[in-house]
């Protein structure tokens, strides 16, 4: 089962890699955007789908990664490796601090605390003007060089770089959820008290999942800063966190492929609908409500339900 899924995912990645040069510029940037956002959605799914922790502040780690790149790459001229390591490490550290506070709580309290913690990061991005330039954001983030092998400035090289990063993130998270550690997480999702009485350190498992998920989200944020060339408080606001939740819910929680699918659908929808109408928020709102009413287990959940029945 795992091998079949891995082959399928690699097949999709290979098809994308082959299609890349054939795609016109705009669709190519959209696919790139979808791949980056998919990293955020997959990292959230590890918490929401596999561990049963609905984080409502996941944009915080994504935003920390993005802001670190923006700060280091613009004024200080730090290269790709430095930015990526710093972005991921700081995102992981943020998650490590926030996790200490959030993991104590369960269910709805967890949701509200992660929401409030996410707002801390947003508040700093918005108000700490001397560092983050506040509402104006930090622009002019240059696309990096790939360790002296060539520039990632063009859309196609950057697309390939993103594709490799997304496949790596998927492989890392896929191995994680299939490992004994991942099975324990699923056990915790199903029954925390049972896992505790079986002798598992429930807190530690949740905490490690939380930090790891934050680190991967931070990696996505690093790519996001390079992709947009611009970072602003919008990237860390509540709606960004909620959108990530929507992607996971739409694809089907507990399925990494579903998160990728959900991310792709929302990215394409947002970009296409906003071309045709100014009222795209109305449509996006309707999508939220529709998903919950008509596909409560997401696309993957619906597909699996059908193949079983």
């Amino acid at each position: 089962m795992i091998r079949r899924r891995a082959l399928f995912a690699l097949g999709v990645a290979a098809a994308l890699a082959l299609a890349g040069p054939l795609l016109p510029a705009y669709p190519l940037t959209l696919v790139t955007q979808a791949l980056i956002v998919a990293i955020l959605a997959m990292s959230l799914d590890v918490l929401l789908g596999y561990t049963g922790l609905p984080s409502l502040g996941h944009a915080a780690y994504w935003g920390v990664g993005a802001y670190v790149v923006a700060l280091l790459a613009t004024e200080r001229g730090v290269g790709l490796a430095g930015c990526a390591v710093a972005g991921i490490v700081l995102a992981a550290l943020t998650a490590a601090v926030f996790g200490l506070i959030a993991i104590r709580a369960a269910g709805t309290y967890f949701l509200m605390i992660t929401l409030a913690l996410g707002m801390v990061v947003w508040g700093l991005a918005f108000r700490w003007v001397s560092l983050t330039k506040g509402d104006n954001g930090i622009s002019g983030v240059p696309r990096p060089d790939l360790f002296g092998l060539g520039s990632l400035a063009g859309p196609l090289p950057f697309f390939y770089f993103t594709l490799v990063a997304a496949v790596l993130a998927w492989a890392l998270l896929g191995l994680l959820v299939a490992s004994p550690f991942g099975l324990t997480l699923r056990g915790i999702r199903e029954s925390e008290s049972r896992m505790r009485s079986l002798g598992y350190n429930v807190w530690l498992h949740k905490y490690l999942a939380f930090v790891l998920s934050g680190a991967v989200a931070g990696g996505g944020g690093v790519l996001w800063a390079y992709y947009n060339g611009f970072v602003s408080p919008t990237d860390v606001q509540l709606i960004t966190s909620v959108e990530a939740l929507l992607m996971v819910a739409l694809g089907g929680p507990g399925t990494l492929a579903g998160s990728v699918l959900g991310a792709a659908v929302i990215v394409f929808l947002k970009n296409f609908v906003s071309i045709y109408t100014k009222r795209w928020l109305l449509i996006l709102g309707a999508v939220y409500i529709g998903v919950i009413l008509f596909a409560p287990r997401g696309v993957m959940g619906a597909l699996r339900g059908r193949s079983r029945s």
């Binding site: 506070i101 003007v129 009413l293």
Partner: protein
């Protein structure tokens, strides 16, 4: 301005902001207490209430009618949301979150469609626009009105919850909805009533706030985190918690903005994190 004046004025301003937060957050806390719903559209009630109040105030030139009209209109919206949508999602936290966000986005866009993107201010009676001086310190009359309004609402809510039959039903539903249902209390009806009351309170806060903060697109998601912090600090479903939480958050926010402007959100959220580290269910929450 001399130093003691600074502290007196800032404390007064913080208290009046806390009063506004109480109107906003008490409804969220009540709704959560009875239905365990994390309502991310609660900030939208605040904003829509302000917009409806604005229209009523401009049409009728009456601030009282604006307060009542805003509250009534948004209570109807709350009833519709609970009855037609949220009731189906009992116990599904994630579903409730996403659905209420969907509504928040729709409300945001509709408000933009109806009222446009320009900022407005709700006209208030002349008696409230002035200021008064006590011991050489100048206070705003409108801020005093906010404190009085919130105090009146807090007392009314306490009497309603503590001294009436309806209040007893609601308290029973907060304590244990299943058990309350079991002894013959109509919990769905109590839920609907609480939802209507909670959304009306938020709308009331919106109209009252529109008199001095103004009404503009984006208010909804601007006030939402404050409502959540109040409820988290005070404890979910607790009226004393909402009161203490509002005052605390109002003061923290005000002093944070006055003393450390660049870190103002940090000075608001960091104490919250500290309280949670000691009491995960908030000051007055019961787990």
């Amino acid at each position: 301005m001399s130093r003691p004046d600074f502290w007196i004025i800032q404390t007064f301003n913080g208290l009046s902001y806390g009063a506004l937060l109480f109107l906003l957050a008490s409804g969220l806390s009540l709704i959560f207490g009875v239905m365990r719903i994390v309502n991310l559209a609660h900030g939208s009630y605040f904003m829509l209430g302000a917009y409806v109040g604005l229209t009523v105030a401009l049409q009728t030139r009456s601030f009282v009618l604006a307060l009542l009209g805003g509250a009534a209109a948004i209570a109807l919206i709350g009833i519709g949301m609970e009855r037609l949508f949220l009731r189906r999602l009992k116990g599904q936290t994630l579903g409730q979150v996403l659905m209420t966000v969907g509504f928040a986005l729709i409300f945001q866009d509709l408000a933009l469609l109806i009222w446009g993107g320009d900022p407005y201010s709700i006209p208030v009676p002349r008696a409230l626009t002035g200021s008064f001086t006590v011991g050489g310190v100048v206070f705003s009359a409108y801020r005093l009105f906010l404190i009085a309004l919130a105090a009146a609402i807090a007392i009314a809510l306490w009497l309603l919850l503590d001294r009436t039959r309806v209040g007893a039903l609601v308290r029973a539903a907060v304590d244990d909805a299943e058990m309350a249902q079991g002894v013959g209390i109509n919990v769905p009806r109590a839920s609907l009533g609480v939802f209507a009351l909670g959304s009306a309170l938020a709308a009331l806060g919106g109209v009252a706030g529109g008199g001095f903060l103004g009404v503009y697109p984006g208010t909804d998601f601007e006030v939402l985190p404050y409502a959540f912090v109040v409820v988290i600090v005070g404890g979910l479903g607790s009226l004393p918690g909402a009161i203490v939480g509002s005052v605390l958050v109002g003061l923290l926010d005000n002093f944070g903005k006055a003393l450390f402007p660049e870190l103002s959100y940090f000075t608001l959220f960091a104490p919250m994190a500290l309280i949670l580290a000691i009491r995960p269910t908030g000051l007055f929450g019961r787990g």
